[in-house]
Symmetry: C2
Subunit: 417 residues, 2 copies
């Protein structure tokens, strides 16, 4: 590891990083310490304006693209070389935490400023990217900005997607782009030399094993299904059990059986019913329709394939007198990150003096899509109790700084290689 890389890492400023994180957390702040800063909302626009202001103050180059991904560049000596990139997202869940996404963006910004403060002019440019709509809480699917940039989906398929209030993505996107009229639009798939994303772990493992740095080996496969059950609305007081077409009771039988299917002694399978809508929702009416989602994840394709082929038969098995429709919403195979990038992160962490652990990512991340464009990796830092997608999400300033020191060293090392 070159001395310049370590020098840059030593210029990472804990206080500056924390203050910027807290400043960003003011935008969309919620009463219990979290944020509601959903993609392409007014809060998202304000967050962009705040980081653009900081970037302009430091004379970094700023560009955007058709989906409003934001690119902030510390220009290298070889301006024609593809940049070494870092990044994450500024959008949040409807009741999300201060650090999920924001840490990777504000931390990446701190890396750029630390390199500048160290007086280093890297050979390749180093770039921070704030990807649009990672969470997918407002407009589905999530990881939208990075999927579009990587060419995995097409923008024309996204423009008419609506949020819960009926607002179309194209209108929210157009408002967002109009708020930064002076920025150049970069084409999708612009080349990158490498990409490393810093993120809070969102799980309890680093905290429990007392490791500072998670060297992420890949992202587990993510599969979403929608299960719709059509029964028949009827009167709760007059309809005997034997005459009911009760969509809710059918849903419960299905979920009980799915729970058995997903049971795993090693506690590696992740199985969640996060959305469950019951209609018409009157206490004295037998539910005529239930819709629920299945989110299941695993790092191994073989396990995924085995579970996948059993889901629809289980749902149909319990249909009884109801009608059951199963649809697949997301089908994201496991991602394996670049071995050289993992080696580099391990070396950087060890050189700086942070213990580390190789670990897969439980959550999906923008890095998963970018891994198709260039050598990619991720750095995890601990978060309290593993709690995320929750207002109470929390991380220690010294743990955040360890992650950004490691990131900074890696970015400079790659840019000068």
């Amino acid at each position: 590891m070159q001395s310049e890389s370590i020098k840059a890492a030593k210029n990472v400023d804990q206080d500056r990083l924390w203050k910027r994180l807290m400043s960003m957390a003011e935008i969309g702040a919620l009463p219990n310490g979290g944020v509601n800063r959903q993609a392409l909302s007014n809060e998202d626009i304000l967050a962009r304006q705040r980081i653009i202001k900081w970037a302009k103050d430091l004379d970094f180059q700023i560009e955007t693209d058709e989906i409003a991904n934001l690119f902030i560049r510390l220009v290298g000596s070889n301006t024609s070389a593809p940049p070494v990139s870092t990044g994450s997202h500024l959008d949040s869940q409807p009741r999300g935490g201060k650090f999920d996404g924001a840490f990777g963006v504000i931390g990446g910004f701190e890396a750029l400023e630390a390199i500048r403060c160290a007086g280093i002019k890297p050979e390749s440019s180093i770039e921070l990217i704030a990807w649009t709509n990672e969470e997918g809480g407002r407009f589905q699917p999530g990881v939208m900005g990075s999927s579009l940039f990587a060419g995995d989906i097409s923008i024309s398929d996204q423009l008419d997607v609506k949020d819960a209030d009926g607002v179309k993505l194209k209108d929210a996107l157009s408002d967002t782009l109009a708020s930064t009229p002076d920025l150049l639009l970069r084409p999708f798939k612009s080349p990158m030399k490498a990409y490393i994303e810093a993120h809070i772990e969102q799980g309890p493992i680093l905290e429990e094993t007392k490791n500072k740095i998670g060297v992420v080996t890949g992202i587990q496969g993510l599969y979403w299904y929608g299960v719709e059950i059509i029964g028949q609305e009827a009167h709760a007081g007059t309809t005997p059990e034997s005459n009911r077409h009760d969509a809710l009771q059918t849903a419960i039988s299905i979920i009980q059986d799915l729970k058995q299917l997903m049971h795993d002694e090693t506690d590696t399978v992740r199985f969640t019913i996060g959305k469950f809508d019951c209609e018409p929702g009157s206490p004295s009416t037998i539910p005529g329709r239930v819709y629920f989602t299945i989110d299941f994840r695993h790092p191994e394709q073989k396990v995924i394939d085995n579970i996948h082929r059993k889901i629809t038969p289980i749902c149909n098995k319990h249909a009884g007198v109801c009608k059951v429709n199963v649809s697949q919403i997301i089908d994201c195979p496991p991602v394996h990150f670049d071995e050289d990038i993992m080696e580099l992160i391990k070396t950087a962490a060890s050189t700086i003096g942070h213990n580390h652990l190789l670990m897969p990512s439980g959550a999906g991340h923008d890095a998963g899509h970018i891994s198709k464009l260039c050598p990619t990796g991720m750095i995890f830092v601990p978060c309290k109790g593993g709690v995320s997608h929750n207002e109470l999400e929390s991380s220690e300033p010294e743990d955040l700084v360890s992650g950004i020191q490691t990131l900074t060293a890696c970015l400079v090392e790659l840019a000068n290689k």
Copy 2:
């Protein structure tokens, strides 16, 4: 049975009854044949105006009261005697049928007109009542108008109740009363000589046993509970099973166990989870809160007491790492109708030539509360497939007419007794 009673019954006009039912079903009509005519809504006001118009055309007396119950009177020869009353409700579930409630009101109106057409002046007045807010879909609790009239609840406790849009009952009520400014306000608990309510069965028994008339013996006990489960929102991809506080999975374990508790070989227990809300409702977030209702009913107090004392312990047993709060919302013991009224309905049905069946009511009805004020009974007619609280609710015109013939004979018999 007096010949005048049978004469009145023979004047019931199937075509007139059906046309008025279809006219009422235009108000709040839904695409699949049902109605959305919730209590104290604009549709409810229009429904009242329509029946008031019909009553004025026939010179019936019209009054209302503080909760906007509507009283339409065919004046008898002894004007100081308490009236013999019939009635039901014009409000519907959000996606209700054309006949639930409306049949008892429009059918009661047809009874009054048939008596008039038969040239009969009964001794006591005969009165039709349209009770306000029987369904309770918009403002809880249901059977509100009849409970208030019977003195079972107090109006001051209801005025600040809000609907889902935050509209207070007192404001909706004030709009409703303002739409009939010329009507006298009658005090609650005004005396009645007797009360008989006609209603569709809302169950399959009359149809299956090929009986025309259900002589209702009483109303089964109705108990509602609210179960709130507080878990912890967390990331679906990163949180191992062993670290989860999953409110939805806890709810499912509770409901499975309740289902066993409620299991009944005789299919007499009615057990429904009609409302089930899951928060925050994001597919990738472990649910942090679930709220569901339990509606359970049985005709025997002993069975009810036995189930009641097990509900809270079962909910608590499955709490695990979540917090569970159980609250009782409704506590309505079984009602037994007057033996003489049952005998009268049987005699009237037999004399006219309709076969009949003694049966309890599965649903709650306004008659349940009025039974505390005077001798009370109910007449059921078949409905297709037992389907109710559903847009597809349906009844045959000839079955409806059988019910109103029986009702008319009973009303005249009681008024002249």
